[in-house]
Symmetry: C2
Subunit: 199 residues, 2 copies
Amino acid sequence: MTEVATARRSRITPEREAELYAAVLDLLREVGYDALTMDAVAARTRSSKATLYRQWGSKAELVVRAMRHSKPGRVTDVDTGTLRGDMHAMVVREDDCRMEQNSALMRGLAMATHNNPDLLRAFRELMIEPEVEEFRIVMQRAIDRGEVRADCPALQYVVHMMIGAFATRTLIEDQPPTQEYLTSYIDAVMLPALGAPTS
Amino acid sequence: MTEVATARRSRITPEREAELYAAVLDLLREVGYDALTMDAVAARTRSSKATLYRQWGSKAELVVRAMRHSKPGRVTDVDTGTLRGDMHAMVVREDDCRMEQNSALMRGLAMATHNNPDLLRAFRELMIEPEVEEFRIVMQRAIDRGEVRADCPALQYVVHMMIGAFATRTLIEDQPPTQEYLTSYIDAVMLPALGAPTS
């Protein structure tokens, strides 16, 4: 169904798409991924299951597109002139309340991927790969400015460091990630590991 | 029941305890935490639910103690003389097959903690706090040897870095963490962030 979904996605208006995604995220927060059904989404959004499957092909694709849609603009639109400035800019795109919601959603989704190859594929394609590409651009700028050496071994682990910091906060400290925590982690861990200026 | 459980745990033999924990981990791999029932554990281990509750107080405590029991000896028994040596020693305590099993189990448990305060408490108390303490000892040795400055900002994030690397590998690369990956991450990220020698 995915080919059809891709072919027909243009059929629905951006407003309707945003409305559907918001409803999916509400349901996801209420019941979690495994308990979320296309029937519930259809009921909540007053649409038919056939329409949902035609547009998105699968629950996994619908849920991950809804998550992806909720993400703010790409940092690559911003160019602060320093790696530290760019990385801090990536963090402050979301306020702490939104970050707490998204960390709970991402944690739930990330774990659901464990038994669900479709979800893992959609999660990686729509959530991870754009992060990887965004960091690639930000890091290339830092290399071009001479802030980071092109052969720095930490470059291959930038996304692991960032997502790891995001994912482990709740587990280790029973607190959601915040802008203050992530900027502190960037300054204490990521910039030193990359050999980049920390101020 | 937890007080009772603690008071009576001495009642069962170490052999029987190990046998029970192994059965719990098998069940956990087969059905996951949420679907795991004390009835299933009782059936699998030929014991009564009353016995299980008397010994462990709750499913959360039983499961996390089983996870904890499966962990190899503490690295603090090892003292290689360098931070790099100690951290590599922490990683090679488990072979890759065991590490893959444990990463899947930990991911499943970490997710279940999201909606389960009992499990989160047990998980943090039995899985996270010992890690934190172990790293505290290893880092103190490195500080005493002059390998790491006592005021290094990365010290507060050592556990985030390590657990983050462990947790994000599958998500980002669709591969389980391995000894090779974790030792490479330690050399590329953790030691440089700590300002410690990388060779």
